[in-house]
Symmetry: C2
Subunit: 360 residues, 2 copies
């Protein structure tokens, strides 16, 4: 039986849409059937530069994509301040929603998106690609293994990259009217998500921002960090920045095991990714070396993580379309938790680094 | 010309003294000439089990070692609460001082040790072995290089290891009358030192403890962490624990470079050690892989780090003895800074996680 292809519309011509349109093309259960931009010329240029199918519809507006009957799902890489408007409208038009992160300007706004998705029976997923790499599942096995990892005790995560002066002046991610959350909403999203992922999505009880966040002249965050505390004693720290060399780390330490990786957001290589894991590590008798040492685990993948993301999303959409399944709630739930922690970091910064209690 | 040998006395038979007595034997400019314990039998057993030179004096007290004319320097691995008494007495007896960490119960107490060393013209050094590994010098070159590392922005360090129930009951490091600083004074010492080392020993302006430290019934810290903030915006976080799998990490991120290592305290192997360094790392055009990637640097060493520590210390002692040099102030200065930060973490915990301002 031939696989059903979920038909994607793309809203806007953001840089990241190049990668995701390639991913849709590479995913066997997905295809691009429409693209819309406020500028028809830009949409045409994007379609041609990115080898969209020749029969894909090209529109000079986002609305037209949402009104297109040959579109099942939309990929929305618009600036964060436009998410609520276009995501809600997409859901109302019964389009399944693959939305870039941060999903909204705050959790209350995200709730309007989720409500629209739920009442219209459409699937929601955010664009956090690394979640879909097979390495992530392999690391989850290690973290869930009481014999190899034990009980979680602490987590550290960071995502930093050094932007250039052009970015600092003109990128939408430093504009208060477009991406008001700045580095916290962009790179911080990944760091916070990775911490929640390690903690198996249990929300921390308290979140405190690190002192010394950096803002641009318009008040947008360029670097910041935070500490997360759970009821039963786990602690996590993170740091995110546009002003430091590219670094993407997760360290998770349990009573029995330790996990390290340094390329969690984008693997060093497209088709192969590693992590380091060690169980009951120790020193030799004279404390001059380690016995045992941590070991490196390498996972190969034919399809890169963004293709696996599209496949997973399209498969959920197909389930709804073809088999009448209910939308999967895992994905909007973890998006919301990520946004809640992000909001708490922002609130802590605004309140002079006070601890912010998170409701459940 | 034959190398002068600095003659060491060892105070006590602590486990760590086995490693250091081997290091003294392996250091070409050092030899053990005396050992003292409160129990003569224990001192004899230690001397025999650790192949001390057959003509080494064996005493049933610490005083006797300090009174021994054939001793130039003492290695003091006694419990922290005994440091001030025996270190000051050693200095007064003109014995140079290699003192285990934490150097004292607090900086004020350490100052009495330093004053005794200064007024008696003896060298002071603490027993932080990794400082002396050639890898450490190689990493310093990277961190100091404005082209490869740029300006320091953030640091994360941790040292955790999982102790057994016997340790939790009986080890001196969990006894309030012996090592009142617990895990903070032991493993936390290394984490804090590593942060200061990355920051080129510039003291932070403010130190805040992480929430959720764990104490034993006697009130001794078993796990804790902290955040350090510098005047010009650098931030550091650390975590230390007796309740988590062995993990020893340094991550240092600059505007242009990133340094990672996972075995900073004791290298995975005795004669070879690595670190990862990357400069101006970035993603490829489609953001699906890294170009360039960080690279691994491996340093071999014929002599393990504890031998290099003894050699360095003995060489300073020899300079004083033979050439009339002044004691080197670098080592007591960085010990004191480490202790100051450690004190601030403890004070922050005691004051409900308030930020503690550090004087200069």
């Amino acid at each position: 039986m031939a696989e059903t292809q979920v038909r994607f519309g793309i809203l806007g011509c953001a840089d990241i849409a190049r990668k995701v349109s390639r991913a849709i093309a590479l995913a066997s259960n997905a295809t691009v059937t429409a693209i819309g931009s406020r500028s028809l010329d830009k949409a045409k240029a994007f379609a041609s530069a990115n080898n969209l199918p020749t029969d894909a519809k090209i529109y000079g507006s986002y609305e037209a994509v949402l009104d297109e009957p040959d579109v099942d799902a939309v990929y929305v890489p618009l600036p964060t301040s436009l998410h609520a408007r276009w995501a809600v409208l997409a859901a109302q038009k019964k389009k399944h929603l693959l939305l870039e992160k941060p999903v909204a300007l705050n959790a209350a706004e995200f709730d309007t998106i989720i409500e629209a998705c739920e009442s219209n029976g459409v699937q929601f997923m955010d664009g956090t690609m690394w979640m879909h790499h097979p390495r992530t599942a392999k690391m989850r096995e290690f973290l869930s293994d009481k014999e190899r990892f034990g009980q979680l005790k602490s987590i550290h995560s960071c995502f930093t990259f050094a932007v250039n002066s052009e970015f600092l002046k003109n990128d939408i991610r430093v504009k208060p009217d477009l991406d008001a959350l700045g580095a916290l909403g962009d790179v911080g999203w990944y760091a916070i998500r990775s911490i929640l992922w390690v903690a198996d999505y249990e929300l921390p009880k308290t979140v405190t921002a690190l002192h010394g966040p950096v803002f641009n002249e318009a008040g947008v965050i360029l670097s910041c960090g935070g500490c997360l505390y759970w009821e039963d004693g786990q602690v996590a720290t993170f740091y995110c920045s546009y002003l430091s060399n590219l670094t993407t780390d997760i360290t998770a330490i349990g009573t029995k095991g330790t996990l390290h990786l340094h390329d969690f957001v984008i693997p060093f290589q497209e088709h192969e990714a590693s992590f380091s894991a060690g169980t009951e590590l120790g020193f030799n008798e004279l404390v001059t070396a380690w016995v045992p040492q941590p070991s490196k685990h390498t996972i190969t993948t034919h399809l890169p993580q963004e293709v696996l993301m599209v496949k997973e999303f399209a498969s959920l959409v197909e389930g709804i379309k073809v088999k009448g399944s209910r939308p999967d709630k895992k994905w909007p739930t973890i998006s919301r938790k990520t946004q809640l922690v992000l909001d708490a970091v922002k609130a802590s910064i605004e309140r002079g680094f006070e601890p912010i209690e998170l409701g459940s």
